[in-house]
C-alpha cells in the first residue's frame, strides 16, 4: 500500500503541482545573426596584412552562408583586440553584435605563423570556442576557411563547408561551337585552375571522397566514356571497357566503387564498378532508360531516374539492384537526383510545363509523407549537388540566349530552406558543379 502511494506520488509529480505555467514557443524569426569580427592583434606589419586578409575571408564566408551578418568595423566601440582580454560585452551589445570574434597572429621562430581565435557570445557573456593554428604563410587562406567552419559549426550545430573545393565545367565560345573544360577552385572562387583543355567535350565531373581524383565524361575518341583522373599527377584512364556509351558517373562514399550509366541497344542501365578489382555489376534490367545514379551516404541504397513507368521519374533501389521503388509522383519530369550527405533529402531537377525548370528536394525516407519542396527556379536550372553538411545545394543556372549569343550560365548556391541564393564567381560560364568534402 505504501509502495502504491509512493508510486502515485511519483507519477503525479510535475511542475504544475507548484502552479508554474508553461508557455509554448513555436514561432521564431529567420534573421542572420549579427556578428562582429574584431581587428586582428598582430605583432608585426606583415602579420597585420595577413590578419586583415584572414578576417576578410572569414567575414565573406559567414556572410555567404546567409546565416550571419557581419557588422561594419566602423561601428565598433571597444578598441581592444586580441584573444588575451575579456571583451566589454555591453559595448558589443550596444552595436547589436550577438557574436564576437577576436584573433591574434604571431610569427614563430620557425618561420611559420600562429593564428589564434576566440569566439564570444555577448548575450550569454561567455566564450564558446578558442583554437589556434600553426601554418606556413601560404596556407593562411585555408586557415581562414577552417576558422569560419568552426564558427559556423558552433553556432548552427552543422558542419561548415567553407574549406572545400568545387569542380565544374567551364564553358566558352559561341552557341554552335561551345568549348568546355573542367575547372577547379575554392568554394569562394579563389585559386581557380583548369584541369583539362578544351579539345574534347567534357561533362559531369565528380570528386572522390578525398578530393584527390575526379570522374568525368569525355568525348575523347568521339564516343562518350567515363574517365578517372588523378588531380595531383594529371594521369587519367578510361573507367570500364563497355561496348556502348558510358556517362553520369559517381563515386561511392567510401571511394572504393563507382557507379555510372551504360547505354547499349536502345536501353540504358546502371552499372557498378569496383575501382580496385575493376569488376562490374549490372544493377538494372529491362528496356527502359535508367541513368543519373547516386549513392546514399551509407552506401546501402541508390537513387536514379528511369522512364520505366512512361515518364522520367525517381526510383530508389538497394545497392545490389533489388527492391526498386518509385519515390516521385508529382506531375512533370524528374532528373539528376543527388542524395544528401546527411541522408535525409534527395535533390533533383524537375521540368514541368507550368513552372519550367526547377530544383527541388524531397525526403529520402519512404515511410514519411514524401512531399517535395521547390527551392530554386529559372530559365534553365539543373544538376544539383550538396555541400558536405547537407544544408546547402549548388546548381547551374542558365539564362536565355541574346541574339546569336548563347545565354550565360552560372553556378549558384542556395540554402535547403530556399533562402539565400548566391552566385559563385567564375571567370567564364559554368555548369555541372560538384562540391568536395572538407579538405584535410
Amino acid at each position: 500500500m505504501h509502495r502504491l502511494i509512493c508510486l502515485l506520488l511519483i507519477l503525479t509529480y510535475n511542475l504544475n503541482i507548484y502552479g508554474i505555467q508553461t508557455i509554448i514557443i513555436d514561432r521564431g524569426q529567420v534573421n542572420p545573426i549579427p556578428i562582429a569580427i574584431n581587428y586582428c592583434d598582430a605583432d608585426s606589419s606583415e602579420s597585420t596584412i595577413i590578419g586583415n586578409d584572414i578576417i576578410k575571408v572569414i567575414s565573406n564566408d559567414l556572410k555567404s552562408s546567409g546565416l550571419f551578418r557581419p557588422i561594419s568595423s566602423s561601428a565598433f566601440i571597444e578598441r581592444k583586440t586580441g584573444i588575451e582580454h575579456k571583451p566589454l560585452f555591453a559595448a558589443w551589445r550596444q552595436i547589436n553584435a550577438d557574436i564576437l570574434i577576436n584573433t591574434t597572429i604571431t610569427k614563430l621562430p620557425s618561420g611559420k605563423i600562429k593564428i589564434s581565435f576566440k569566439l564570444w557570445d555577448t548575450i550569454l557573456e561567455k566564450d564558446l570556442i578558442g583554437e589556434f593554428f600553426e601554418i606556413p604563410h601560404n596556407l593562411w587562406r585555408r586557415v581562414a576557411h577552417k576558422i569560419a567552419d568552426k564558427i559556423y559549426e558552433k553556432i548552427t550545430g552543422e558542419k561548415g563547408y567553407f574549406d572545400t573545393k568545387i569542380v565544374y565545367v567551364s564553358e566558352s565560345g559561341s552557341y554552335f561551337k561551345r568549348l568546355k573544360r573542367i575547372a577547379m577552385m575554392d568554394h569562394d572562387g579563389a585559386n581557380h585552375r583548369y584541369l583539362t583543355d578544351d579539345k574534347y567535350l567534357v561533362l559531369t565531373p565528380r570528386f572522390s571522397p578525398h578530393s584527390d581524383k575526379i570522374l568525368y565524361l569525355s568525348y575523347v575518341k568521339k564516343t562518350p566514356r567515363v574517365y578517372i583522373r588523378d588531380i595531383k599527377t594529371g594521369r587519367e584512364s578510361v573507367l570500364g571497357d563497355f561496348p556502348g556509351m558510358s556517362f553520369a558517373p559517381h563515386f561511392s562514399y567510401d571511394g572504393n566503387k563507382a557507379i555510372m550509366s551504360v547505354a547499349k541497344d536502345g536501353s540504358t542501365h546502371i552499372v557498378e564498378i569496383d575501382l580496385r578489382t575493376k569488376k562490374t555489376v549490372k544493377l538494372t534490367n529491362g528496356y527502359s532508360i535508367n541513368t543519373s545514379p547516386s549513392y546514399s551516404p551509407d552506401g546501402k541504397k541508390i537513387v536514379f531516374n528511369s522512364d520505366r513507368s512512361g515518364s522520367r521519374q525517381l526510383y530508389i533501389m538497394n545497392s545490389d539492384g533489388s527492391n526498386v521503388q518509385r519515390i516521385s509522383f508529382g506531375g512533370g519530369v524528374y532528373t539528376a537526383p543527388s542524395w544528401s550527405p546527411r541522408g535525409d533529402y534527395i535533390a533533383f531537377t524537375k521540368m514541368t510545363r507550368s513552372e519550367g525548370f526547377t530544383i527541388g528536394v524531397m525526403r529520402a525516407s519512404l515511410d514519411e509523407n514524401n512531399s517535395e519542396r521547390i527551392i530554386a527556379s529559372g530559365y534553365l536550372v539543373e544538376g544539383p549537388c550538396w555541400a558536405q553538411n547537407g544544408r546547402v545545394v549548388m546548381f547551374a543556372k542558365g539564362y536565355p540566349p541574346v541574339g546569336k549569343q548563347s545565354g550565360k550560365s552560372r553556378i549558384y548556391t542556395i540554402d535547403l530552406t530556399g533562402y539565400n541564393e548566391q552566385e559563385i564567381p567564375t571567370p567564364k560560364d559554368a555548369s555541372d558543379p560538384e562540391w568536395s568534402r572538407s579538405l584535410d
Partner: protein
C-alpha cells in the same frame, strides 16, 4: 393413430413456437438493437470574455458625437435664426440691459444680495427678452454684422490654411446626410474617459491574453537554427525567474528532448538559441507588478516542429 396425433401435436406446437419467435423478433427486433444509443451530451458554458481575459481596469476613451454642420445649417434654416443669434449675441449685452432694468423693477433685491438679483433678473429677463426681441432687431443685426466679421475672418483664415481639410470635411458631412446625429460620425471633439468595470482578479493565473503578450516578446527574439537535421524532433524547456520589473533573474534548462540519431551539436545549438531569446527579450513588458507572485516563475517550451515544415 394416437402416435400420429401426438406427433402432429408436437410438430404443431413446435411450429407455433418458432412462428411466435419470428414474429416476436420481427416486432421487437434483435436483442442488440434493444440498447438505446446514449446521446452524448456536450456541456459548455457561456462566459463573458472579461472572465477569461482577466484584464485590469482600463480607461476607455468615449467618442463624442459630432454634429453634422451641414445638417445643422439645414435645421437652422427651419427655426428662427434671429432667436438663436440672440442667444449668442445678447449675452454680452446682458450686463448693460440688466443695469437699466434692475433699478426699475427690483431695487430691494439689489441691496440684499447682488448675486441673487442677477439670477432672478435673468429669470425674469428671459420672458421679457422675447417680448423685447422685435425692437432691437436692427440693432442686433448691426451688432451681428460687426461681431461676426471678426470671428468669421478668423474662421476664414483657418479654413484658408487647411483648404483640403475643409473639403474633406464637407464631403464627409454630405455623405452623412442631414441627420445631425448620424451613425457615421467618427470624429471626436472631446474624449471622455471612463473606467471599464471588468471581473479582474489578481489571484487568477496568467490569462490567455497575458500569456500571448509574453509569448510574442520571446518569439520576436528567437532565432532558431533552421535547416539543422531533425530539428523538428528537438524540444527545449526553460524555467525562468523574473524580477518585479520583468527583467530576467535566472534561466535554467529544465528539459531537453534530443532523440536518438539527432546530433548533440544541433541540440546544443537549439538550447543556446532559446536561452539567447529569453535574455534578449528581457525585461519582459506588459506585466502587472501587482500580480508578481503569479508571473514570477514560469516555463518556456520551445517547439521548432512547426518552423521546419
Amino acid at each position: 393413430m394416437k402416435n400420429n396425433n401426438d406427433n402432429f401435436l408436437l410438430f404443431l406446437s413446435f411450429s407455433i413456437a418458432i412462428h411466435l419467435v419470428v414474429i416476436y423478433f420481427f416486432i421487437f427486433g434483435l436483442p442488440y438493437s434493444f440498447k438505446e444509443q446514449s446521446e452524448e451530451v456536450i456541456y459548455f458554458e457561456m462566459l463573458p470574455i472579461s472572465d477569461i481575459s482577466n484584464i485590469k481596469n482600463q480607461q476607455k476613451s468615449k467618442e463624442k458625437e459630432v454634429e453634422n454642420e451641414i445638417a445643422k445649417k439645414v435645421q437652422n434654416t427651419k427655426s428662427d435664426p434671429v432667436e438663436e443669434k440672440k442667444e449668442i449675441d445678447i449675452k454680452p449685452e446682458e450686463k448693460p440691459i440688466e443695469k437699466k432694468e434692475v433699478p426699475e423693477e427690483d431695487n430691494k433685491k439689489e441691496i440684499v444680495d447682488k448675486e441673487k438679483e442677477i439670477i432672478t433678473i435673468k429669470k425674469k429677463e428671459e420672458p421679457k427678452k422675447k417680448e423685447v426681441a422685435p425692437k432691437p432687431k436692427e440693432e442686433i443685426k448691426k451688432i451681428d454684422a460687426k461681431d461676426n466679421k471678426k470671428p468669421k475672418d478668423k474662421k476664414q483664415k483657418k479654413q484658408n490654411n487647411s483648404e483640403l481639410d475643409s473639403l474633406l470635411k464637407t464631403l464627409e458631412q454630405s455623405s452623412e446626410g442631414t441627420d445631425t446625429k448620424s451613425a457615421k460620425h467618427s470624429r471626436a471633439m472631446h474624449n471622455d474617459t471612463q473606467e471599464s468595470k471588468g471581473n479582474y482578479d489578481e489571484n487568477l493565473p496568467l490569462s490567455i491574453t497575458e500569456m500571448n503578450l509574453i509569448k510574442k516578446q520571446i518569439e520576436n527574439n528567437w532565432n532558431p537554427p533552421l535547416g539543422a537535421k531533425d530539428i523538428s524532433k528537438i524540444r527545449v524547456t526553460l524555467l525562468i525567474i523574473l524580477d518585479k520589473d520583468g527583467s530576467l533573474l535566472d534561466v535554467q534548462l529544465v528539459d531537453k528532448v534530443c532523440p536518438f540519431g539527432v546530433s548533440v551539436a544541433s541540440c546544443n545549438a537549439l538550447v543556446n538559441s532559446a536561452i539567447i531569446a529569453v535574455k534578449k527579450a528581457s525585461p519582459i513588458a506588459n506585466l502587472n507588478p501587482v500580480r508578481y507572485s503569479i508571473w514570477k516563475t514560469f516555463n518556456f517550451d520551445f517547439d521548432p516542429s512547426k518552423l521546419s515544415r
